[in-house]
């Protein structure tokens, strides 16, 4: 069997595995967010928090809960890094400097996991396990909470109530993420991912002498890193590091973990709005884009255009032998079409067009299938816009899931889709226009520009992967990417929750002969088209200067 057919078979196996768990997981998550019962341990937790989980919240109250929880999270993680030098269990590593601590704290709380630090030589056990890994869980749970609040906005009528944030946060963590992560972590250890708390120690070498290793709770962090679409690696090389991703099987398994919750959430959505076929239409949209992009990526990477790759005889620069071109291509698309940003191969050394695909994947807004939670609310916003466009075509007031999409709803949706492009383009332009930020580029010309464009695309979309040649550990990049991550995470949430509140307050419109049937393939086609056209129009000029200029040279 050749590498191309092996790659295609891996893709088919992945689709099969995702299909197998789609209904059980989706239904489970729907029960988690709608069951009136609390587990005993949850009741203790609510007592600890001092919150009543049965109080319904309006959208401003729900948003305040998220902002308070996230603000405390940033501060806590910042202090943990600043105090690392005096904390026990930190391998004797020194404290992290202020700009980098701010950047990293924001990065993990916003589910971005952009890393301007060098994992294995910067962060000790305490910061990794009790700081960074905790945010891997809770930032994903926050994303799911916002998605569920929006779904409730569609499902409920004549009320301003969107559920209880504390209850959604705790349930998402305890009933969905922790059990899945625990199972995944044990599978990873069984395949060779390390899981220990040993200090820095010497291990013998074949040629004599020794090498210095640090241990760590890697498997437990790796599992939630993929499952929560976080992406921050324990080691600098992320999922290319053999201790994070030791075998071809773990590679495919990690891609599965990245995709499983975002895809299954479309089922949850369908169940909660009372029509699983609405969920299938959204799933079909995500699936079409994901499959198309993966096929394109495999094609360009196997073709290995570019002088250095031609000379080498294959696109193996920055890729591991055990994954090969096929496994690396599948991972690269999955990680950028979700908000993950973990890498098993280095995107900067991909072909020009391959690098462009990773960037375009993020620019779509990470909705195919997108981040844990953020993917669902992102694509529902696009669905609102697609419905509006369809409404314009036939001259009818647009409606979606029985709710009118009026002026207020459209304004909120439009604000949502304008935020990230504004952040990406303004910060990229500023970095190119100022005199010192361009010095951080490793490569020159079109690829150098791509490094900067990639950095802000990744930060504002909360992805976290990088064209890692860029030296991002400068005050400029630590600060600006930090701001891009914060604004790119929380401003969209404001608009999503405001939209949810506005929808929940409406009374449902009855379905008539003139209603656009949003559960039909026609709508899926319209939605795919709307997503590609809107993103294309927004980013084409920037893409032309970077990856397209390189790929077509």
């Amino acid at each position: 069997m050749g590498p191309v057919s092996a790659g295609v078979l891996q893709l088919i196996a992945l689709v099969g595995a995702l299909a197998l768990v789609y209904i059980p997981l989706g239904d489970h998550m729907a029960r988690v967010y709608s069951s009136p019962k609390h587990l005993r341990v949850e009741k203790w937790i609510y007592k600890g928090i001092g919150a009543d989980p049965d109080t319904e919240m309006t959208w401003p109250a729900y948003l305040r809960g998220i902002l308070a929880f996230s603000a405390v999270g940033v501060l806590f993680l910042y202090l943990l890094q600043r105090l690392q030098g005096v904390l026990p269990g930190s391998l004797g590593f020194s404290s992290v400097n202020p700009a980098q601590s701010f950047n990293t704290a924001v990065s993990f709380v916003t589910n971005t996991n952009w890393q301007s630090y060098y994992g294995e030589q910067t962060m000790g056990h305490v910061v990794q396990t009790a700081g960074l890994a905790v945010q891997n869980f809770v930032s994903a749970a926050v994303g799911m909470a916002v998605a569920v609040a929006l779904v409730r906005g569609f499902a409920r009528s004549r009320t301003g109530e969107l559920g209880n944030f504390w209850s959604d946060l705790v349930r998402g963590t305890l009933r969905i993420l922790v059990p899945l992560a625990a199972i995944a972590a044990v599978v990873l250890v069984a395949c060779g991912v390390i899981q220990n708390f040993s200090g820095i120690h010497e291990v013998g070498r074949f040629m004599g002498g020794s090498q210095q290793w640090n241990g760590g709770a890697v498997a437990s962090q790796e599992a939630i890193k993929e499952l929560g679409t976080n992406g921050g690696g324990y080691f600098n090389a992320n999922s290319a590091h053999p201790f994070e991703n030791p075998t071809p099987f773990t590679n495919l398994f990690e891609v599965f973990l990245i995709l499983v919750i975002p895809f299954a959430l479309t089922r949850t959505f369908g169940v909660l709005v009372g029509s699983v076929r609405q969920g299938y239409a959204i799933l079909a949209t995500m699936f079409t884009i994901w499959l198309g992009f993966t096929a394109l990526m495999m094609w360009t990477e196997f073709a290995h255009h570019g002088p250095a790759l031609q000379a080498a005889g294959g696109a193996m620069e920055g890729k591991e032998v055990r994954f090969g071109v096929g496994g690396s291509s599948i991972f690269a698309v999955a990680t950028t079409l979700t908000s993950t940003g973990a890498v098993d191969s280095f995107h900067s050394s991909f072909t020009g067009l391959g690098g462009g695909i990773t960037m375009l994947s993020m620019m779509l807004g990470e909705i195919a299938p997108g981040g844990t939670g953020s993917g669902l609310y992102g694509i529902l916003i696009m669905a609102v816009i697609a419905v509006f466009i369809a409404g314009l075509m036939v001259g009818r007031t647009p409606e979606y899931l029985g709710k009118k999409i009026g002026g207020r709803e459209m304004k909120l949706a439009a604000c949502y889709i304008l935020i990230t492009p504004a952040l990406v383009l303004v910060f990229t332009a500023a970095s190119m226009a100022l005199s010192t930020p361009p010095h951080s580029m490793l490569n020159s010309g079109a690829h150098g520009f791509s490094e900067v464009l990639y950095a802000f695309t990744s930060a504002a979309n909360n992805n976290g992967s990088a064209f890692a040649g860029l030296n991002a550990n400068t005050d400029w990049y630590n600060t600006t990417t930090g701001l891009a991550m914060l604004l790119g995470r929380f401003l969209p949430m404001v608009f999503v929750l405001a939209l949810a509140g506005s929808l929940a307050g409406q009374k449902p419109v009855p379905v008539t002969a003139g209603t656009l049937r949003t559960e039909k393939p026609l709508f899926t086609g319209l939605l795919v088209g709307a997503i590609l056209i809107i993103t294309g129009l927004t980013y084409f000029p920037a893409l032309a200067l970077g990856p397209l200029a390189e790929g077509l040279a």
Partner: protein, 222 residues
């Protein structure tokens, strides 16, 4: 005004308590439970899959190593020890920049672009070296035979494996340097070649440390 300050403080207090409780669950109980299971059921793997030769630990089967001669005077990069199978280039490892009292094993890629002149030069130099090192009397290596993994740096810089093609290319050289029959070394490589998992996951590969450890055994019992 006063009211809103109190409300904000109350909300932040709830946020802090929620964070602390969830840190206890996901940052203490969860990792300790996973570590307990890992150490009970998969002790070797959880501790880094170390392998031994002659009773001594020679590294991890997962982590690639270099097989170089000692540095000569005035040299910046050591020459490869051609007695042993060689792994992939690792040009993007970087250096210990902080916490420098340690000499930790690092990971990283070059991040050079497909159209980078630097990368092109690295590839061409590596290819020339592979051709030169592996051309022994009676067996000349043609540049077109050199596989891509032999001349490119991996993603981690710690790739433990090479392609069967690159291992095969080194057979004649290794046999000659160790005074072993070619067929015996060929058999050794064959025995250490892992196919795709279940026939389709990943790529076929040869673990260099395991191969060299076995080779050492062969040489000792020659």
């Amino acid at each position: 005004m006063n009211n809103s300050v109190t409300n904000t403080a109350r909300l932040l207090g709830a946020g802090l308590r929620a964070l602390l409780v969830l840190t206890l669950v996901t940052g203490v109980i969860y990792p300790l439970a996973v570590t307990g299971i890992a150490q009970a059921l998969f002790r070797d793997k959880a501790n880094g899959s170390e392998i031994k030769a002659d009773g001594k630990v020679v590294g991890s089967s997962l982590i690639g190593q270099s097989y170089d001669l000692p540095l000569k005077k005035g040299q910046e990069t050591p020459d490869p020890d051609l007695k042993w199978f060689q792994g992939r280039p690792a040009n993007g490892l970087g250096a210990n920049g902080i916490n420098t009292r340690y000499k930790l094993i690092l990971s990283g890629a070059t991040n050079l672009a497909a159209d980078s002149g630097d990368l092109l030069k690295q590839v061409e130099d590596a290819k020339a070296a592979v051709v030169k090192d592996n051309s022994v009397p009676g067996c000349t290596v043609n540049p077109s035979q050199v596989p891509a993994d032999a001349v490119t740096s991996s993603g981690s810089g710690l790739d433990p494996a090479i392609s069967p093609a690159y291992a095969g290319l080194q057979v004649h050289r290794v046999a000659a340097k160790n005074g072993l029959p070619v067929a015996q070394v060929e058999k050794l490589v064959e025995d250490h070649t892992d196919g795709r998992t279940l026939g389709f996951i990943g790529e076929p590969r040869v673990n260099v440390l395991e191969l060299n450890t076995a080779l050492k055994g062969l040489v000792a019992h020659k």
